[in-house]
Symmetry: C2
Subunit: 490 residues, 2 copies
């Protein structure tokens, strides 16, 4: 659905790719037949597989000839064992909601979709621990947990389509990370099929909050982007569903004041602070102008902050938010603000923040960056890039440069919007922007991962011994390199 | 200080040990001189090193001839490089507060103490991120953070002596894990010297909350018990210091009611629940009888629960705790209870819980076990072992079997107290108890680790492929196996 409304950078598709195909076997009819024997005729797809070969932003396109849809770990194990023997490359694919091409083949790798891996689901009410197969959709898990007064600790825009397996494999972030931490904070164990000769199923960690009986291999799979194995089942700690929730939208004049509001929110809202989000005026302009989402202020502010506060007891969140907002006004930190109580009541505010990613794609072609920066440099990136690109602005057709993101986590989504879909912008921006980020102690990939998009930049500022250790670990789990080749640590 | 009051199991010291020394080099005068060149004469100790060769419980004793006290990562790197070349085994030692002999040499390994690694300490008030060297004491870090309105997310009995480096290397748990998660939830990066030819310094992760630019090697070091490298510097997210705190001690008649109180605490106290601790009547008897710590009930209850609730706003914790206790009474879940508000006011209650580990050592010789279990089996272990040992009770001199621990995390500290210090008890109990734990989906090591103590049992219930992957990872970081040999994944 989203697909048609996004201005695609189709022509740039090959910009990031490694051009030489490795010597993996090309699929034969015999291979297809063997796959059919493992998982059944209906679950080896050769037709109508465009939606698997392409990401939702239409930035990446693979040429896979075959999609496999196994239903259990044992079937995945058999597939991997066969592919190991035959030297067939595999791309594990979860909900296919990524933004770095991590689950799209580079060439003709066989796609292993987790779409049918959704048989086992258990929830323990006393411990709050969910055990479920990797193919469950994040929102679906939330719906199941809600009956028991619980919810998942992660929440992101793609929640209606992304699978929990992919969330773990990419260490997905999102809007509640400031409160509940990232996947590492909540994952307790996982099962994965690794790329060895036997397609071994490793069952790591346990449904226990404390388990120190081995190296913590579970955590090595978090953010491993399908390089070490195919995650089939996860054990995650859910969190209690709040009874009170309050949301505020604040208009702030300077970035320095945004920082001060953040400091105040941390100490004043404390354990109840669940989100601290940021949008600059250019982003707000896009949201208002191109998506027609109302911004409830007289004029578009320099900066807007979306702050959410939740509590197990109904009234605590509203009381705390009111006190906090009073303090913000008393200290002259905010220009204007609105506040709502209740889940549905907060939707209007969240629509502004959640509308940002799509809104910035509507004016032209958008070059998106996902980065972490120490708070002091969070918005300096925007000013720096505006200066850096100023002389070529006309030539490159740059319409707008804007930032939004998770200020509370230091995670900025930085966007360059241009009239043109051209390599020139990439050539001008790279590797300058990545170097600047690393020089300022930031990360060139905050929550979107490396995938295809940033593969050739991931070593910037990294020590060669560390890089070689990562590759050796990859080699241990996947000796022939058949899992998700050409990307990340490959 | 503790040392003299603990009935030691000195005679059992060799029970768990591997008897054959590996072919590491024995230290020569030339080696000592070379160490002196690296770190200076004063910091190579050959005399008065008993306190390094022995743990505080006097359960383990090494025969190291030399303790090295480097002051920075570069010195550690030079030491490791030298030891690699000369094939000298090293035991990294942090605060030496462990309970499984992980930081005590098995034979004559050279001890590398982190005691002087305490030069760098920074705290960023906006992000709440601490960066500090591994040799800082946990309590000391807390004191520094308190000035800024923050505290560390972990808290354990040994806080006055344990170092943050050791906390990370052992994935220390403690009494606040139910609220803030374990080390994985809060660690962002660390620097470590690995055991390769160059003594390479790896700088993993970053002072950022989101960083997906490599495999998450930081997390592989959490709980690695000195097998992969020597952790020299850590980056950890601190948490705001609460303004309100309430503590309750509840007397409960059945374990089933304890479980119900836990469920209620999770939903009612929600984000404010910071501890949920458990003591059975035998433990309470020891606390009262042998440590003379007052138990404020008419008689020793069957079970006691210590529940803590904290909030950023002063009154929230007390209000929520009061409501929660009313509900417990209304549902007839508790027999009696007391509640206090304020940090100091809660000391009396905490003394009971914190007095447990020492109190159970005062009646006889204590055989301690640290395990995780699904809540349903948490106390069944106690009943099972009482039955199992019943016939031999007299012969084995068993005085008491008792459990206490972190019920909220499913972590039980199980103790057998005997008149005798004898192998017979171990021979009767092992491996029965470990097998029972694994059969009931528990973990034979919750928060104390494997070290020397459980090395030969760690493979129970584990897949051989996983074990071999752990060993291969160890081999990658430490090809000659010079780091902390004979223990854990070695």
């Amino acid at each position: 659905m989203l697909r048609n409304s996004v201005k695609s950078l189709l022509h740039l598709r090959n910009y990031h790719t490694v051009l030489k195909r490795k010597a993996f076997k090309e699929l034969t009819n015999n291979d297809i037949n063997n796959f059919r024997k493992i998982i059944g005729d209906n679950y080896v797809k050769e037709k109508d597989i465009d939606s698997y070969n392409e990401d939702w932003m239409k930035w990446y396109k693979g040429k896979s000839k075959c999609v496999l849809l196994p239903k259990c770990m044992e079937e995945i194990s058999e597939i991997v064992k066969y592919c190991y023997k035959e030297n067939i490359a595999i791309v594990p694919q979860s909900g296919n909601t990524g933004l770095v091409g991590g689950s799209i083949p580079m060439f003709d790798e066989t796609i292993l979709s987790l779409r049918r891996l959704r048989n086992n689901f258990t929830f323990d009410q006393t411990s709050g621990i969910v055990e479920c197969d990797a193919g469950f959709i994040l929102e679906e898990i939330n719906d199941k947990l809600k009956e028991h007064g619980y919810m998942m600790p992660i929440d992101l825009g793609a929640k209606g389509s992304c699978f929990i397996g992919g969330n773990v494999a990419t260490c997905a972030g999102g809007i509640r990370l400031i409160k509940f931490g990232n996947i590492h904070a909540n994952i307790l164990g996982l099962d994965a099929v690794i790329g060895d000769k036997s397609g071994s199923i490793l069952r790591m960690g346990s449904s226990l909050r404390k388990d120190n009986t081995d190296l913590h291999l579970t955590h090595l799979f978090v953010g491993s982007e399908g390089q070490l194995g195919i995650i089939g089942n996860v054990k995650i700690l859910a969190v209690p569903y709040p009874n009170g929730i309050s949301t505020a939208l604040l208009s702030v004049n300077t970035f320095d004041e945004c920082k001060k509001v953040l400091q105040l929110a941390k100490t004043q809202l404390g354990e109840n602070l669940t989100s601290f989000e940021f949008l600059d005026s250019d982003t707000l302009h896009c949201v208002s102008e191109f998506s027609k989402i109302p911004i409830p202020f007289n004029k578009i502010p320099q900066f807007a902050l979306v702050i959410e506060c939740a509590s197990s007891e109904k009234d605590t969140s509203s009381k705390k938010m009111e006190n906090f907002l009073s303090m913000c006004y008393d200290k002259n930190l905010v220009d204007d603000g609105i506040m709502t109580n209740g889940f549905n009541e907060g939707r209007g505010i969240w629509n502004i923040r959640e509308g940002a990613p799509l809104s910035v794609t509507k004016e032209g072609y958008v070059y998106k960056y996902d980065m972490s920066l120490p708070i002091d440099y969070f918005y300096e990136l925007n000013n720096t890039m505006k200066k850096y690109l100023n002389d070529d602005k006309e030539k490159l057709g740059i319409l707008r440069i804007c930032s939004y993101g998770h200020l509370g986590d230091g995670n900025v989504h930085f966007n360059i919007i241009s009239k043109h879909s051209t390599y020139d912008i990439y050539n001008r921006v790279h590797p300058y922007i990545y170097k600047w980020i690393v020089d300022h102690k930031g990360s060139i990939s905050a929550e979107h991962g490396i995938g295809q998009l940033k593969q050739k930049y991931m070593s910037i500022g990294k020590d060669s011994t560390q890089m070689s250790i990562s590759r050796s670990i990859k080699n241990l789990f996947d000796p022939k390199g058949i899992l998700n080749p050409y990307k990340f640590v490959n």
